[in-house]
């Protein structure tokens, strides 16, 4: 299969989750990702639980599939010098240190772009590289809070709540990958590189603002937390059943009439208060009570069947275990296997970006620490075996 990003070399100084998400995705499509790790221990994620029975970090493996690993000690001048040599041969540099760290090492964009004007230099940080709070550390949960997503997630009478997934880190990495691809388009035409500055807070805000900022900008007051409801539609959300919840969503008058039919309530069809969304929304609580009374009389399976037969959008809320065995996700290769040298076959998530001619490959193994030192330092940089030995002895690689 052809690889869309073949020949793109990414020098990846990133650790943890956000940066590695970016290089994971670009690696799926054939970019050569050279993960630069500290000589003793490497990426902290190598010790992140859970562990495979063979003792590898399953989390690290999942996030670093298909990458090459080299070791390099940036705390030494010799190490930084080697980094600069690598930069000359790279298309993209990726890092998610706190803002200022790379500059202090002499590896900031200004300096490196002089060595390689075509370099695309992508940074991911909690709050970005500019602004009054740029130097504050920003974990995923801080971004979810400071980006406004926690304020609008949860129930009206409950606490603000973060997503069960690290969506700030993930989205930061995805935004970085997208930005690198935009920058490659510019570079293809002009030969010019540039700097990319992704903030986890910006990323979360861009999600949170879509639905909630307009009401705030219009009225000075934002809608509060709505649980599983939607500000602009009713009935919409998760409704209780005998044995769980059922999702349903109704927008048009036709959908309302079909729901009324499914509920055996012909009297509610074309009802002046309920048929049109703009009227119905005024009776939110009334509508929710009507629909809940009906869903509570059914099991989730019965409710989904009845609603689907009536062509009302609905679904169960499956447990994670069920989702991980969903025939739909399995048929779309969203759960795949990687053959890991130490740990053997491991199940991992597949690639969500599906291209027919240049599909991504999420099944390549993650590297051992420094596994590609010889390949990169000897074949790419032209060092000799004895130089490599010396660098190793001196703790530089």
């Amino acid at each position: 299969m052809p690889k869309a990003l073949e020949g793109i070399r990414i020098l990846d100084f990133s650790r943890f989750l956000a940066g590695p998400t970016c290089s994971l995705i670009l690696g799926y499509f054939g970019a050569e990702v050279i993960k630069v790790e500290i000589p003793k221990g490497g990426d902290t994620f190598r010790t992140h639980p859970p562990f495979t029975p063979a003792g590898e970090s399953y989390f690290f493996v999942s996030m670093n599939r298909g990458k090459k690993s080299i070791t390099l000690n940036l705390a030494t001048e010799k190490g930084r010098q080697i980094a600069r040599e690598l930069v000359k041969k790279a298309d993209v540099l990726l890092e998610n240190f706190s803002p200022g760290v790379m500059e202090k090492l002499g590896l900031g964009y200004e300096e490196l772009s002089k060595l390689n004007p075509a370099l695309i230099y992508a940074s991911i940080s909690g709050f970005g590289h500019s602004g009054p709070r740029s130097h504050q550390p920003g974990y995923d949960i801080v971004a979810q809070a400071m980006g406004g997503l926690m304020a609008i997630s949860g129930f009206p009478d409950g606490p603000p709540i973060k997503s069960g997934a690290s969506i700030g880190d993930s989205l930061g990495g995805i935004h970085a990958a997208l930005s690198i691809l935009v920058a490659l388009q510019h570079r293809n035409r002009t030969g010019e590189g540039q700097a990319i500055d992704i903030s986890l807070q910006d990323s979360i805000w861009s999600l949170a603002a879509i639905e909630h900022s307009m009401v705030y900008f219009l009225t000075g007051k934002a809608p509060g937390r709505l649980g599983n409801a939607y500000l602009y539609s009713v009935p919409f959300g998760a409704f209780p059943t005998k044995d769980g919840d059922v999702i349903l969503a109704v927008n048009t008058a036709d959908e309302w009439n079909r729901l009324a039919g499914a509920m055996g309530r012909k009297d509610l069809m074309n009802h002046p208060k309920y048929a049109l969304q703009r009227e119905r929304i005024k009776y939110r609580e009334e509508v929710i009570a009507l629909v809940s009374a009906w869903t509570k009389s059914l099991t989730t399976a019965e409710a989904v069947k009845t609603l689907s037969d009536a062509r009302v959008v609905s679904s169960p809320v499956p447990a994670f275990e069920e989702v991980a065995n969903d025939p739909q996700l399995l048929s779309r290769e969203m759960i795949v296997e990687v053959e890991q040298p130490v740990s053997g076959k491991l199940k991992v998530p597949g690639a969500a970006c599906k291209l027919s001619r240049t599909p991504g490959d999420p099944t390549r193994p993650a590297p051992a620490l420094g596994q590609h030192n010889e390949e990169i330092y000897i074949s790419l940089l032209g060092l000799k075996q004895q130089e490599l030995k010396k660098l190793r002895d001196e703790g530089i690689i």
Copy 2:
């Protein structure tokens, strides 16, 4: 400012949220987005609340900035014929109809790629274009449920909860934009187009699976909902204060010791039970009780100050109103103004993908319905004024 995607023409049949997110982002970077709408009424989102005082859908404006609008009735053979002519002049086609709709119109990938082999054809749908459930409708909330994110979001003793934002739609759009950019790289080298098939469920699963799938694959049992906690760290999450909540996160032994110092609990420093994460995690409830007792004695502002001084990652959980006025977001142009012909100046979210040399422009206005009919049909397709009049009279545009 140079535009990285200048010269890329996107024929955009998408409506609502997921597809328009994709073309919004690519439009920021200079792609020419031609939004194809039905002649009477256009994209349903044009009637989606909230409305500006002048009566425009604020939501529509926000999602369709910088795009061109043409009208075209695909229910007529003449309309479909014009669509095929436009396809010959497009680089990218974007659509988020239910799978099968474009094929029934004779506008599926197989047919259109014969007219234009370089065409990149991007589809976004609830469950994707393959698999046993491909034909089921999938709104954002259905994807959040069926992708497993709801199952892992919320409190252990509470109901599953969806994110307050439509992150399935947003991420589906972002994944489509990323995939189009990958496909452009391949096309730049080979001249070949391809089909892209994005599923909202796949997109949500790829977020949810990152942290939770590994435990499930190892043990056959997934961790349940954890509220604002993190499976692998404690203390981590939102802790109650006198007047709200404070976020804090502790990983290393140093961070623990600094937290203990901030709490005035030198006895907890280097404590055999608590100093190391791998030990501390065994006493999750105990640690949470210890930290909560302390945070409850402070206001949020006091807690954030004390923790920041001790270099422990922390933040408040600001209300949406505060986030929308955050000096950090403002300084990074994450809230910008668009000058809309009918409604005047409107605040809208900025662009999260920040590139130094080819920045995105999120400040161009959204189009009126059919505003660009003359430009596209006459200048691009070469139709004559009287032909345009006839098409208009026949309800084709």
